[in-house]
């Protein structure tokens, strides 16, 4: 049951994405029938699934939503921006209700009611033109009475729809409590063991009493021969027992625990009207029987006819229906809570061809391994040569498998990007701005773990763009820009990394204000001379916020530095560019995976270390005459006219004592670059190899080390450190980053 529920929630996520996509298309002015249908289908599937799990809040809301969407589908009203906006809001409520059902936060009923009222208003506006005036007046009066009551089924619009009436009522009937029907036929062996069918019946009666109802038992005597042919000790009878809807399958199963091998039995949930006792002449009610049960059955039967009267007397029908639905929902709801307590099982959907591809590669690996095994038994020289060859082919195979596994883990960034639509929607309504978020490259795939970790930084950034980036409507019009602000969120692959950009068409970063604030906050001295890029980077300093007032969204000075930390911890870099009056662009450059890194193996102070190859610009042997010693003991090197600090790696990591400038002659240097584009030259003992390494965290068992981002295990089993190039470069350059680097260095020392 829990498994199925999990699948349902996964499907809900997909349907919600589908819904988001469809509604976005609608708001972009696309009103194709297929889009509307897709939106309708998404809500309908959620409703259908929720109904079968008895998630009544979800069912009720999606039902109202669906009704409104049906108006759109049958073209009773057009998808005007207002209508789409209401639908978007309803979608947010719906997705919150889904997470509520999943065990998340409870949704404020007022919000649900409000959205329901809005949806009802939409369908009403469509209906009123079609309906006769007298009836329309009655209908219009009802929603106002009803919407505050969350138990309302909103029958109004259903009444006016020609097509979906059957469909809707069919599902409402499915909501009515389904009686649990148990049939069993004991084998001869059951009686031979001294057991009795009576014990089973007593057990079932107990269940019914626990569930607050009674059982209805019918005996099937069709197999009973005439008395003359009757063999004593042979089992001829079978029973059919109708338990109240509240009774759980599990407890009924438990009754048959001891007799499962000596008795045929079935458990079914069935519609109440299937079980009308009068149907069969063979059924004879037993003594525990049924006056009350039949009554309740009749009542259930009547529930459906009641519904047809809804338009006339909605209140009257809703009242008897609601408790029975609540009762039906109860066991299922209990299950939901149990599921919520368990840690959520993460799962992903993977294209079949990717799995097939992986399977093929594994097959090849097995063959290659067999080949190597047979070759290794040969002792002649040519065998040796072939062995080396097969090992190298196995190497490329391993890399292919690694790529294939990564492809399995890869996920499009769409899921995160679409969530951002909502962030922008909520933030812009809070700030009373009219802002459209455009998504580009949602199909760009990145590692799953990365996708998840992008949500928080992106939320921060987008809220910030809405709050600070885009100006108020008046200011925009005054600046000659369209009143509607635009934010573009895009993703693309660029040279083995993923580049995510957030571009707004706002006023741009006010350089002077940022500078002044940084001085005021004591982040920089008043006489500091900084480039534009450096000034913009100040907004990522802890405790920095230029917003004059603290708003709900931002302005507390937390956020941007958190974003930077989050992106850096993912191995990413942030770039900012801003044109006054035109807008600001933030770029996140992130590695495709967090698990594996292309690295260059270098040696320094006798140990092997790994440099991320993405940070290495070039390698060369330095000439003594290009090195200039500075008065403070550090050195700079001039490479084709560019001067950059020379960092002797072993000394920088305090693994050996300071070296004299002379020792740099003919030394191997690596030109490395940090995220801001600042370069430095690392002096190493030698370059050993280029390889892929698996990233292992050190921080779980040790504290963070300055200059080291993680560690890895080399082929010989020894530990090798992965260098944090940006920290090394930043500390050498004495850039703005030095401050945080010093803190880190302080921690390490």
């Amino acid at each position: 049951m829990d498994d199925i529920l999990q699948i349902f929630f996964q499907e809900c996520d997909e349907q919600l994405q589908e819904l988001e996509r469809g509604l976005s298309a609608l708001s972009d002015g696309e009103s194709e029938h297929e889009t509307v249908n897709a939106v309708f289908r998404a809500v309908h599937s959620i409703k259908g699934g929720a109904a079968s799990f008895g998630l009544e809040n979800l069912v009720r809301f999606s039902h109202v939503f669906e009704n409104s969407l049906d108006g759109l589908r049958s073209e009773r009203f057009a998808p005007t921006p207002e209508v789409v906006k209401t639908f978007l809001k309803a979608m947010d409520v719906l997705s919150d209700l889904v997470s509520e059902a999943r065990g998340g936060n409870t949704v404020d009923p007022a919000r649900v009611a409000e959205s329901q009222a809005e949806l009802a208003a939409i369908s009403d506006s469509g209906d009123q033109s079609a309906a006769s005036s007298a009836l329309a007046a009655t209908e219009a009066a009802i929603p106002q009475d009803f919407t505050p009551i969350p138990m309302d089924f909103e029958p109004i619009s259903a009444d006016f729809e020609p097509v979906p009436v059957d469909l809707d009522f069919g599902e409402l009937a499915a909501l009515a409590p389904a009686a649990l029907i148990v049939t069993f036929r004991p084998h001869d062996a059951l009686y031979e063991r001294g057991d009795d069918a009576r014990n089973i019946l007593i057990g079932l009666t107990d269940i019914a009493t626990e569930a607050g109802g009674q059982i209805e038992v019918t005996c099937d005597r069709s197999a009973l021969p005439p008395l003359a042919d009757l063999i004593p000790g042979k089992s001829y009878l079978s029973w059919r027992v109708v338990l109240p809807a509240d009774a759980s399958e599990d407890s009924a199963n438990a009754v048959f625990d001891w007799v499962s091998d000596t008795c045929d039995f079935t458990l079914t949930r069935d519609e109440a009207d299937d079980t009308t006792p009068a149907d069969s002449a063979l059924e004879h009610p037993l003594d525990q029987a049924e006056p009350e049960t039949t009554d309740s059955l009749t009542e259930m039967d009547l529930a459906e006819p009641h519904l047809h009267d809804d338009a006339v007397a909605p209140l009257a029908s809703a009242t008897p229906l609601v408790p029975s639905i609540a009762a039906a929902a109860q066991p299922a709801a209990g299950g939901v809570h149990a599921a919520a307590r368990k840690p959520e099982q993460a799962s992903i959907r993977v294209d079949l061809h990717r799995i097939d591809n992986l399977m093929d590669l594994v097959g090849e690996l097995v063959i290659a391994q067999a080949a190597i095994e047979s070759l290794s038994r040969r002792t002649d020289a040519s065998g040796q040569h072939e062995l080396v060859q097969s090992i190298s082919s196995m190497q490329s195979l391993t890399r292919d498998i690694q790529d294939a596994v990564m492809a399995v883990r890869a996920q499009p960034v769409r899921s995160v990007f679409q969530r951002m639509q909502r962030v922008v929607r909520e933030a812009s309504s809070m700030t009373n701005k009219n802002i459209v978020l455009l998504l580009e490259g949602e199909d760009t795939e990145v590692d799953r773990t990365l996708v998840e970790k992008l949500t928080d930084p992106l939320t921060h950034m987008l809220r910030n763009a809405v709050d600070h980036g885009i100006e108020s409507e008046e200011a925009r019009i005054a600046a000659g820009k369209p009143a509607e602000g635009h934010i573009v969120l895009s993703a693309e692959h660029r040279s083995g990394r993923i580049l995510i950009t957030i571009k707004d068409d706002g006023a741009g970063i006010n350089r002077q204000r940022v500078f002044d604030t940084a001085v005021k906050r004591g982040i920089i001295p008043p006489d500091a001379s900084l480039t534009d890029e450096e000034v913009y980077n100040l907004i990522f300093m802890p405790g920095f916020s230029t917003a004059a007032t603290v708003s709900n969204l931002s302005g507390r000075g937390v956020g941007m530095d958190v974003v930077k930390q989050a992106i850096q911890s993912l191995g990413g870099r942030i770039t900012i560019s801003s044109v006054p009056g035109k807008g600001t662009t933030f770029g996140f450059s992130l590695p495709l995976t967090l698990a594996i890194l292309d690295g260059m193996l270098i040696a320094a102070a006798g140990s092997t270390m790994v440099l991320p190859i993405s940070a290495v610009i070039e390698t060369m042997i330095v000439n003594q005459r290009d090195i200039y010693a500075l008065p403070d003991g550090s050195n700079v090197v001039s490479i084709r006219g560019d001067c950059m600090p020379l960092i002797p790696l072993a000394t920088a990591l305090k693994l050996s004592s300071a070296s004299s400038p002379e020792s740099f002659h003919n030394a191997v240097i690596l030109v490395v670059e940090n995220e801001a584009g600042a370069r430095a030259a690392l002096v190493v003992d030698e370059i050993r190899d280029q390889t892929q390494v698996v990233i292992k965290s050190m921080e779980s068992n040790y504290r963070p080390i300055f200059g080291v981002s993680a560690a890895t295990i080399l082929g010989d089993g020894s530990v090798s450190l992965i260098l944090d190039v940006s920290a090394l470069v930043a500390s050498a350059i004495g850039q703005i980053d030095t401050k945080s680097a010093n803190i880190r260095a302080g921690l390490a020392a």
Binding site: N701, Y702, V708, G717
Partner: protein
């Protein structure tokens, strides 16, 4: 391991099984339940900015952990050429795994926590002293040692 926590672990009686090892001439012990395994000392990878008592990092079946030279930590001359030096892999209550390089492992002992004589204030790495036969054994406070390794309040 403080006395209090050790007491909590053996509520019914006060006997705690300890593993006894030697650093220099002095014997120390730690609760055997915190020991994951004992392995030979192999080459470690030197860590930058590490305190002198941290030998470096080793790979324990895919987990990277640091090895502490207890001799240096306890200000005893390290016996670098002693072939019996082994690394005791311990796991603290917080789940931090690290290796303790000791000069030799001696045996196990059942230590009655009531016999432990407290020697120093809170926060020291030595939890107390206990007499087993005629041997005076120091009880090492693992949490202090490991806490210094992970924490940011390091006194070098």
């Amino acid at each position: 391991m403080t006395e209090q926590t050790a007491v909590a672990e053996v509520a019914d009686d006060m006997i705690v099984k300890m593993i006894v090892f030697a650093i220099g001439v002095q014997e120390y012990c730690i609760p055997i339940l915190s020991v994951r395994e004992i392995r030979g000392f192999e080459k470690t990878t030197t860590l930058p900015f590490a305190p002198p008592y941290v030998c470096g990092a080793i790979n324990l079946r895919g987990i990277i952990l640091t090895v502490i030279d207890l001799a240096i930590y306890l200000n005893v001359p390290p016996q670098t050429d002693n072939p019996r030096r082994v690394v005791v892999i311990v796991e603290s209550k917080e789940g931090v795994v690290c290796g303790l390089l000791v000069d030799r492992v001696i045996d196990m002992a059942d230590i009655n926590m009531n016999d432990v004589q407290a020697v120093s204030e809170e926060g020291s790495c030595l939890g107390g002293l206990v007499l087993v036969g005629d041997r005076m054994i120091g009880i090492l406070r693992l949490e202090t040692v490991v806490g210094q390794l992970v924490g940011d309040t390091v006194s070098e």
